[in-house]
């Protein structure tokens, strides 16, 4: 990490948030804006954090500085950014400590989100205590609606369980109404927070939409064989199959469904379904599979983004990470709107502005992204965005899913 000394200019800017306002002319422009994050680099969550989040932090850092930095209009100049990064080892205690280190020792100007729901939740009280606005890019829980008011500085960027599940339930209900399917749904989920909460949210929606859930079971996260479970699912003869799965199981159950010739007309897998590696492994068999947390590859700016990503990392970007990049873009826009590092003002701008980003328009209502991309689908070997259907760029659903070839 770059550890160049931190000169007093930016300390003055930090002070500006709390000290009585002195004439602007008296303040020198900071020579850097410092962003800090503590994120999991070692342990089981390290890989996910790397591909979804850290890569985007690095890419954004490079692109912003290539463009001269972030415009601080109060000083009338662009200021380059600098990143301070720590490894939290996947432990909440480490994250808490390192976040305080970022804020109190390193005196960073802004804090960026850690990885995974529980880590974001662990960090939320601290960033609120110190009033650092953070856009949480990998946190999803049914509690969001209660937690929002508790933590005014925390913003929730991705589709929460309800937003992610309701469109699925509605889509199946519509297909049923059109007489295309009977509406027999089977849903499975791993025994982790994400799986359980999405499943619960889906059951709630399915009940409202009058769907018949013929099978609903959880499996052990980390299981080495899902074939018996898929057999059980097949025995109930569902026409829609949903798995609120995690990456390793997403891969495994897709392969085992093919081996068993399980061909539901409507099939959804959750995390990992958008990975480039998923497509690499299964080729065109991915067509018709619905996936969680996509991004629109046709959105304006995506070509440049994809190229820059390829140039820097020598591999394809992860569509599930585009929301992270979008969060960074809108943070930059908010800072530029305010024109200085005044975190209270930045927070208010984030809370009240509609931003144009790579991930489409983002507008927070009660700190919750009002209309995030929730469900995508592989069509013709490409990832597309499907739901929310009313969002600009959304493609129509491909139905039925083609049988495995």
């Amino acid at each position: 990490m770059d550890r160049r000394t931190f000169v007093k200019g930016s300390a003055a800017v930090v002070g500006a948030a709390t000290l009585p306002r002195t004439p602007a002319q008296a303040q020198a422009a900071p020579d850097k804006i410092r962003f800090g994050y503590a994120i999991t680099q070692s342990g089981p969550l390290g890989p996910g954090a790397d591909s979804t989040t850290v890569s985007n932090y690095k890419l954004w850092n490079k692109l912003v500085n290539d463009a001269g930095g972030i415009m601080l209009k109060k000083f009338g100049k662009k200021v380059p950014i600098e990143m301070v990064a720590y490894d939290d080892q996947g432990k909440p205690d480490e994250l808490l400590k390192l976040t305080e280190r970022l804020i109190q020792q390193d005196k960073v100007d802004m804090v960026l989100s850690p990885y995974a729901t529980h880590m974001n939740l662990a960090q939320a009280p601290i960033i609120n205590k110190y009033e650092y606005p953070v856009i949480m890019t990998t946190a999803t829980t049914n509690k969001t609606y209660e937690l929002g008011p508790r933590w005014p500085y925390a913003f929730w960027n991705i589709a929460q369980p309800r937003e992610a599940s309701q469109p699925l339930s509605k889509a199946i209900a519509d297909l049923k109404k059109q007489g295309k399917i009977k509406g027999r749904v089977a849903a499975i989920y791993p025994s982790v927070e994400y799986g359980v909460e999405n499943n619960e949210a889906f059951l709630e929606a399915a009940k409202k939409d009058g769907l018949e859930v013929v099978f609903n079971k959880s499996y052990a996260f980390g299981a080495s064989d899902l074939q018996p479970l898929i057999r059980e699912v097949m025995a109930t003869n569902p026409d829609a199959f949903l798995a609120f799965s995690y990456p390793p199981d997403t891969f495994m159950l897709t392969e085992q469904a093919q081996i068993l010739g399980f061909n539901p007309q409507f099939m959804y897998v959750a995390i990992g379904g958008v990975f480039p590696q998923y497509k690499d492994k299964f080729g065109n068999k991915v067509n018709g599979i619905l996936v969680y947390g996509p991004s629109d590859p046709k959105a304006p700016g995506m070509d440049e983004y994809a190229k820059a990503h390829r140039d820097l990392f020598k591999q394809e970007y992860e569509p599930g990470g585009v929301n992270v990049y979008a969060a960074l873009q809108l943070t930059q826009q908010a800072i530029e709107t305010v024109g200085e590092i005044d975190r209270k003002k930045i927070r208010d701008v984030i809370a009240n502005t509609t931003f144009k980003t790579l991930w489409g328009e983002i507008k927070y209502v009660k700190q919750l992204n009002a209309n995030p991309w929730a469900v995508g689908q592989w069509q013709n070997g490409e990832l597309t965005v499907i739901y929310p259907a009313d969002k600009a760029g959304a493609k129509p659903l491909l139905f039925p899913k083609p049988a495995w070839s």
Binding site: E94, L96, K97, A124, E193
Partner: protein, 318 residues
């Protein structure tokens, strides 16, 4: 106890002075410093508690995470119904009781069988608890919202850590401690010398577990959210074992000698080389084994010994 204090007044006074100074840290330390100390204390207390049983008896346990997690869960469940201090104490009691049951069934296993069993235990508790939460509560998440300040957590953990170290030292001076060491040296001899080995092992295993649960419960006051994978994160088990072995598990203050540098090293590496943390940590272990056998404790003792010898030598000539 008083007799022991009188005989070791120098070190007792030093400990009391050190504890007093540490207790004052919140007056001038930033929140970051408090957090760093909290992590330090947690590691020291866990490593000391681990070594109290496993170091002395050489029953290498990987169940630290299990009892730590039991503490977290007990707090998460109890804090809704009773006051926080009561919930924390409750966690220690539950940890003690769980360890009693576990100890009854497992402490006849030895060597690597015991190691792997305790590892399996952590996983089993994790899986079964997860299953229970999903089946009964329809969620795996629990939220802990308290208004306990960092300073309170700091002082509590400081007290827990001191009590653990002093307690561990005290036990090493009484019959129970001798019995524990004898079990580690040769369990058959201990048994035939009149030591009720089963009772000693289970009691000490449970005491050690209750400290682990206690630490888990206190740390959990800082987590707004927990689930089984956080509570039963088995990296705790490994980290604690490494710290104790690095420091030297044969002395009450040994594990602290290992835990403190490890935490500080990881704090340094976390910032300087986040990507190379694991490589550096790994090389550290290798270096320790080849160049620091017996841990830091032995290094210090050898140094003190040679110092004493030098002084005695001078005295002899003078």
């Amino acid at each position: 106890m008083l007799e022991l204090l009188r005989r070791n007044w120098g070190i007792s006074a030093l400990t009391a002075l050190g504890a007093g100074l540490l207790a004052l840290v919140p007056l001038f330390g930033s929140n970051y410093v408090l957090s760093l100390f909290i992590v330090l204390y947690a590691n020291v207390a866990l490593a000391t508690a681990w070594a109290f049983f496993s170091g002395a008896t050489r029953y290498i346990s990987l169940a630290t995470a299990a009892f730590f997690g039991v503490g977290i869960y007990t707090l998460a469940i109890l804090h809704v119904y009773v006051s926080i201090p009561l919930a924390v104490v409750g966690a220690a009691i539950v940890g003690f009781l769980v360890a009693l049951v576990v100890g009854l069934s497992t402490l006849r296993l030895r060597g690597v069988y015991f190691v792997v069993f305790t590892f399996g235990l952590t996983e089993l508790v994790h899986q079964v608890l997860n299953w229970w939460e999903i089946k009964i509560n329809k969620t795996v998440s629990r939220y802990i919202f308290t208004d306990v300040s960092n300073v309170n957590i700091y002082e509590t953990l400081l007290a827990v850590t001191l009590i653990t170290i002093v307690g561990s030292w005290y036990v090493s001076q009484i019959r129970l401690g001798f019995a524990l060491r004898a079990i580690g040296e040769d369990e058959t001899v201990a048994r035939h010398t009149g030591v009720n080995t089963t009772r000693v092992k289970i009691l000490c295993f449970a005491l050690s577990a209750s400290v682990m649960a206690l630490v888990g419960a206190v740390l959990a006051l800082r987590y707004p959210y927990i689930d089984a994978s956080i509570a039963f994160n088995n990296t705790w088990s490994f980290q604690v074992l490494i710290a104790a072995l690095l420091g030297g598990a044969g002395r009450a203050w040994g594990p602290a000698m290992g835990a403190v540098p490890l935490v500080l090293l990881s704090e340094y590496l976390a910032g300087s080389f986040p990507h190379h943390f694991s490589i550096a940590l790994g090389l550290c272990f290798v270096v320790i084994v080849y160049f620091l056998p017996g841990g830091i404790t032995r290094l210090i003792e050898r140094f003190l010994h040679s110092l004493k010898a030098a002084r005695a030598g001078m005295g002899g000539h003078g």
